[in-house]
Amino acid sequence: MEKRLTGPKQPVPDGVPSPLFLEELKDRSRWFVFLRFIVAPGILLASGAAHLLGYRFHTPAILAIAGMIFAYNLVFLAWIRKMSPGQWESPRIIAKFTYWQLGADYTALLLLIHFTGGAASPVLFFSIFHIILAAMLLPRKYAYMFAAAVAAGVFLIGLAEHSGWITRHRVYYGAEPVLSHLQPPLFIPHLLFFTASLLITAFLVTTIMRLFFLRVRELDTQTGSLAEYNKRFRTLFSLVETMGAIRQSDPVLAVATRELASVMGVRATSVKLLSEDGSRLIYRGNYGLPETFVRNKSVDVAKSPLNRRIIEGEAFVTGDVSKPESFQFGEDLAAARIRSVLFVPMVAEQKTIGVLGAYCRLPDRFSRHDISFFQLAAGLVAIAIENSRSYEAIENLTAERSRFMLRIAHNLRAPLGAVLGMLELLREEHMGPLTDEQAEYLRRIDRRIRTMLEMINQLMTLARTRTAPGEPEKTDLDARWLAGRLERTFQSMAVERNIDFKVHAAEDVPHVQANADQIEQVLENLVSNAIKYTPDGGKVKVSFSSPSGNRVMITVEDTGIGIAENDLPQLFSEFFRADNAREKEELGTGLGLAIAREIVEAHQGRITVESREKRGTTFSVTLPASDNKGNTHGDK
């Protein structure tokens, strides 16, 4: 991966372009083939135009050359079509294709020059294009060679024509040959300058191309390192994400070691945690280390120089496994063919809590980038471990507290149970007949004890809703079913007190997603309070409605004693009882509304109260509606 950071530098076989060049070559080759199809019509047009202007030359030869160019270009096109994607990847095949194209063009160019006046041909200027194209397509050396070959070809044609070895084909304007005054003394500097132009063009184009490729290569390197950084960043991000989603350390460490091994491109990674006394490092997580290596093994810090250096505060150490004295289990590493290691400290709250290690099968493998990345990752892993430790501590504490509450519940309820049992024996006159006064006092004792029992029960409920983590188990509840249950539960009580008790649920009230027991407890508490604190002959009205499609509102409205404005803020606090409520009903736990609020809030709902003293009170409970609009039975 260090390689990726400094850019690709593969050795390129001589005469075969580099991969980047190749990509370019591939595109250009195709382009040239399509471009070349313009050449033949171009020659035809140019010949036509020349004839119209009165120039004469060996037209059949020129047309034949145009036909030849068209024909060999068809061959090239077929070649391109026939080439499989795999062959496009092969530098040799592409290079071969390029040389064939240049060769064919070279031949066509020299023929054109020969048939349009030889060394005096106006087509000579077109050689420049060929040189530019060759310089773009070929490495510098080959570009010069091509330029030289063109110049040599023109020289040879000139020489051959001059010596009469081949026929001279002039261009005529009327009877006058064009540029016919160019005789050898004039002709030679002309060709020398022509050659120089070709070479200079080759030089300029190849130089520009080289600079261009250097830039492209630089860009490629940067893209590569950007991609690498992006990958690393993603790894860190996924670590953070995992840490957020999972609180237990083991799964987090499993993800961390796996991701780190993959992004660092190493054989294995490990997380070792320092023991309480700081003498040993214990494997808590690893990826890729052999089972035999990790199992039951912890590292003795004193015997492992590399680990000791980390524990003593070094920011990183890299190690070469060929020096077994650095490792406590050097032979095991060598057996796993690990050649180099990188250890960095895991620091949480300024304390080194362990060592994060990477193991690679390449020697001397870790770069500055690797180390700084690994240090970042180690910081995250340390935080993950600390988080999971705190989370586990809180979980234990919560569980411990719940067990304690259960114990209290048991120990407080057991004696009360015995007392109530014995009291019942007395009140049932199993121990002999009672006077009215005795019976009355035993009744009062019984009542007080039952209130106390109720208080314990309610405290338990409260403790449970507060300590139990997570949400209550919910089912889909039909509001109309709840309404029916309330009506049946309280109808007789209301009749006894001559209270006008009505429960109304609109037809279209949506279902609620709630824990049936808990919601019933809340509603029963509100309704029993309403009846309790409403004078005989009053009214209590419960209605279920849906102010918006996604909420269900339940209001419990009474014409009771009301609540003083001063008391409203404390109404939902534990053990709070309003003075007028105490007057009306001596015994009460003061916990009912506190529990109601806990439960409603655990359901993402709201409970509110409006009241005027001596006029009445309205409690409103709003709960989220369930997605299910109907058809499920309300029963659990």
Binding site: H410, R413, A414, L416, G417, E424, E428, R464
Partner: protein, 144 residues
């Protein structure tokens, strides 16, 4: 009183009930209530004593407290009896001072022992609702 009147019918059967509870007050209350209702009652204050009493004679029904010297002493005994062909048909009513709800969804102390099983069909919460308890008792005994 109604219950005293019921006594006559129960008397004829003289069903024998073994009450196992470590709380002497509970044992005494249950003894008096059950005897007044015409049952013959034997008492045991822990699992060990209960086992001895069971060896002496198999009762018609056992009332068994769950938490005695250990949290699960009652369960342990109930499981043992469930796996004993001689006693597997003997009805057991479990007693507990735990609130049923707390037991159900608190950090369940018993779950790891019980798994999905429950060693008895009937369970009552203390303080007992005597009337319901006697009704249930009678119902069970009539059916066996």
């Amino acid at each position: 009183m109604k219950r005293i009147a019921d006594k006559e019918t129960a008397m004829e059967k003289r069903h024998e009930i073994l009450v196992v509870d470590d709380d002497k007050d509970i044992r005494d209350v249950l003894r008096i209530v059950l005897e007044k209702n015409g049952y013959s009652v034997r008492l045991a204050k822990n699992g060990k004593e209960a086992a001895k009493e069971l060896q002496v004679k198999k009762p018609d029904l056992m009332v068994l407290d769950i938490m005695m010297s250990t949290d699960t002493e009652g369960f342990d005994l109930a499981f043992e009896l469930l796996n004993n062909p001689e006693f597997e048909s003997m009805p057991i009513i479990l007693l507990t001072s735990f609130l049923e709800k707390v037991r159900e969804d608190g950090p369940d102390q018993f779950q790891h022992i019980l798994g999905e099983q429950w060693p008895a069909k009937w369970m009552f919460e203390k303080p007992l609702n005597t009337e319901k308890f006697l009704k249930k008792l009678e119902g069970i005994l009539v059916n066996t």
